[in-house]
């Protein structure tokens, strides 16, 4: 086992990995930019190394700075978390070249699965269903249109490069085809500097369901069942759960088998996720390969809470060369877990990311509720990075119990000083289709207007009364909005 691991990340995932290291008696090394000098991940690690100024490109994205920190602290391995350099094959290769173990798959596997075309080809080879579609080599508008007509409307036109839903167009009749192609190309060129387009059959009201896999260095590959992540806003997941309300045992076995077959075909190692679009539900549902994420997912805790497997610990053990300790038959789902992602963003203003001080921040502590966070009261949410503050994961014997627990916990989770999507998540968890488990990837965007409207009541008298009580001079002493740093600048070392 490793003696010391450097964590090339920040926020909640860095904290999560530090905790896993501590339990394994492995020393943890945090890295931080100037903007994060006082962040929880820096305080919690056994060592912390400054790697640059606030811009990620000069700190968390800088391979040089990270490898230098690893050398300085004599680290043996690097855990990349998710985001930043986690799916960057050149970073994995640089780690290997520097004699460091990259806790993830080999660089060539990252590269192959990172190319949509290569990943689709490999999936097709491995017998995994894919959504019919292509990136025409000849990129003239007429050729794109011809490809779309061959697939048959409705189709999806999207940039070959980039993501986040930008430039993606749905075409439901052939007459709209040419204008949609032109507009998609303009948006793709503006956003990504590349106007190449891809056409694909549109799966109507699909569910997003993914399979977690683990592969060791001894030929062992298992899957840890599914997570449903259909609740997305503009292609970003906000609520995830396991198991999926749409997946039957037979479908689970087929999807799990497909994911394992793909992982084997790819020569996969460590933890990875095979994402599928699912049409319909039950035994008859059809599923199509979407992409493979060659890293730990944000939503990994719902798998941990239902399978009992610690995925970060498993990643470290696999990277250290240990064989998987379970066969497929030994793994089981128990109960139901729901994760909600708490973002610093304003749902009333198109989810614009928010920055500001965490004047008050108290995590709920209750049975069967887990909070993975990377912030603390008195801290600052900066403009520099992803606005994810924390993830709240509720487990229950049934989906309904987990849902009620998540709601009860959100209502005991005050975050003041920056707007968050907490109130929106409460409203979403009470939406009749969410209650019933009738999910698809369009649900949040379709219902967001109604959900946001339900949040913009006038101020209740109780809130006014509390606001006034807090403002009385007599309460000055316990006020929590005083900046503790301001008073300390004189003496801090």
């Amino acid at each position: 086992m490793f003696r010391r691991i450097l964590i090339a990340n920040r926020g909640e995932i860095a904290v999560r990995i530090i905790r896993a290291c501590r339990e394994l008696a492995i020393e943890s090394v945090a890295v931080y930019s100037d903007a994060d000098a006082r962040s929880p991940h820096v305080a919690l690690a056994d060592r912390a190394v400054r790697i640059g100024p606030a811009p990620a490109v000069e700190s968390y994205l800088s391979t040089d700075a990270i490898l230098r920190a690893a050398r300085e602290t004599d680290a043996e391995a690097i855990h990349p978390g998710y985001g930043f350099r986690a799916e960057h094959d050149a970073f994995a290769a640089a780690c290997a070249a520097a004699g460091l173990v990259f806790i993830g798959p080999p660089a060539e596997v990252i590269a192959r699965m990172g190319s949509k075309t290569a990943a689709r080809a490999l999936a097709a080879q491995a017998g995994v269903p894919i959504v019919p579609g292509e990136t025409p080599a000849d990129q003239r508008d007429e050729t794109i249109a011809a490809a779309a007509r061959r697939l048959g409307v409705p189709v999806l036109i999207k940039p070959s490069e980039g993501g986040g839903g930008i430039g993606m167009k749905t075409v439901r009749d052939e007459a709209s085809l040419m204008p949609a192609i032109a507009q998609a190309r303009r948006e793709a060129a503006a956003a990504f500097g590349d106007g190449s387009l891809y056409v694909e059959r549109l799966i109507e009201r699909p569910r997003h369901i993914e399979i977690q896999v683990l592969a060791d260095h001894h030929g062992g590959v298992v899957h840890l069942f599914e997570r449903e992540c259909s609740l997305q806003r503009r292609h970003q997941k906000v609520v995830e759960e396991a198991p999926s309300p749409a997946v039957t045992p037979a479908l689970r076995e087929r999807m799990g088998g497909a994911a394992v077959a793909l992982a084997r075909a790819a020569g996969y190692r460590n933890a990875g996720t095979v994402e599928f679009l699912v049409e319909g539900s039950g035994d008859e549902a059809r599923f199509y390969f979407l992409e493979m994420n060659t890293r730990l997912q944000v939503e990994h805790p719902v798998t941990e809470q239902t399978t009992g497997v610690d995925l970060v610990r498993a990643q470290i053990a696999i990277a250290a060369g240990e064989p998987l300790p379970w066969t497929q038959d030994a793994l089981q789902q128990r109960g139901h877990a729901i994760e909600v992602r708490l973002y610093a963003e304003d749902p009333a203003r198109h989810d614009l990311p928010q920055a500001g001080p965490l004047l008050l921040y108290r995590e709920p502590s209750m049975p069967a509720v887990r909070v993975d966070s990377g912030v603390a009261e008195g801290g600052e949410v900066s403009v520099h990075y992803d606005p994810l503050l924390a993830k709240l994961i509720a487990w229950g014997e049934t989906r309904e119990t987990a849902r009620r627990r998540a709601l009860a916990a959100l209502r005991s989770y005050p975050i003041l000083g920056v707007r968050t999507n907490g109130p929106f998540l409460c409203a979403l968890l009470e939406h009749p289709r969410v209650v019933a488990g009738q999910l698809d990837t369009g649900l949040v965007d379709a219902e967001r207007g109604a959900l946001v409207a339900s949040l913009s009541d006038e101020l209740p008298p109780d809130a006014i009364a509390v606001a006034l009580a807090a403002s009385e001079p007599a309460t000055a002493a316990p006020r929590s909005d005083i900046d503790p740093w301001a008073t300390l600048r004189g003496w801090r070392g």
Partner: protein, 173 residues
Amino acid sequence: MADGQGSGIRDPGSGKLDIVLLGRGQYRIVDGSRQRIAYAAGPPEARWVFLEGRVYVVDTVRLPSTTLRPGKPDTTYVASGFPGLSVVEGSRTDTPARTRHDDELALAAPMPATVAAIHVSPGQEVETGDLLVMLEAMKMELPIRAPRAGRVKAIACRRGELVQPGVQLVELE
């Protein structure tokens, strides 16, 4: 709205609302035998309040003159410790003290950001929700969308420019 109606959490005839400090920023609202927990923090002109999963930002400096007035004891809720100050039950039509949702702000950058792309030109007609400008603050894309239908009057930013929060980027007419 009759006494004891409304939010449905009050005992008819009580009329007294006790606010008890429990710990830093944590308050108990006691209304007869019923109670709930609330949290508050922030400066008087933007006091943040958390109540059962909802967040409100209250300007307590301007509040007393607009929404608070001495009330008759049988129809108002008196916050203890503020003699002479009573909170009148709000209604949908006469509540100037709203949380700060200002649609105009939707046309300004929410934080320091770079203009990644401009998707409209002066004179162009836009629908509610149309993408006008794409900003970028580090990893995040921040779309600026039309808060209402209209015609683009002027564009007040350039691609690549670093814009400051609160500065309007597009004018609609």
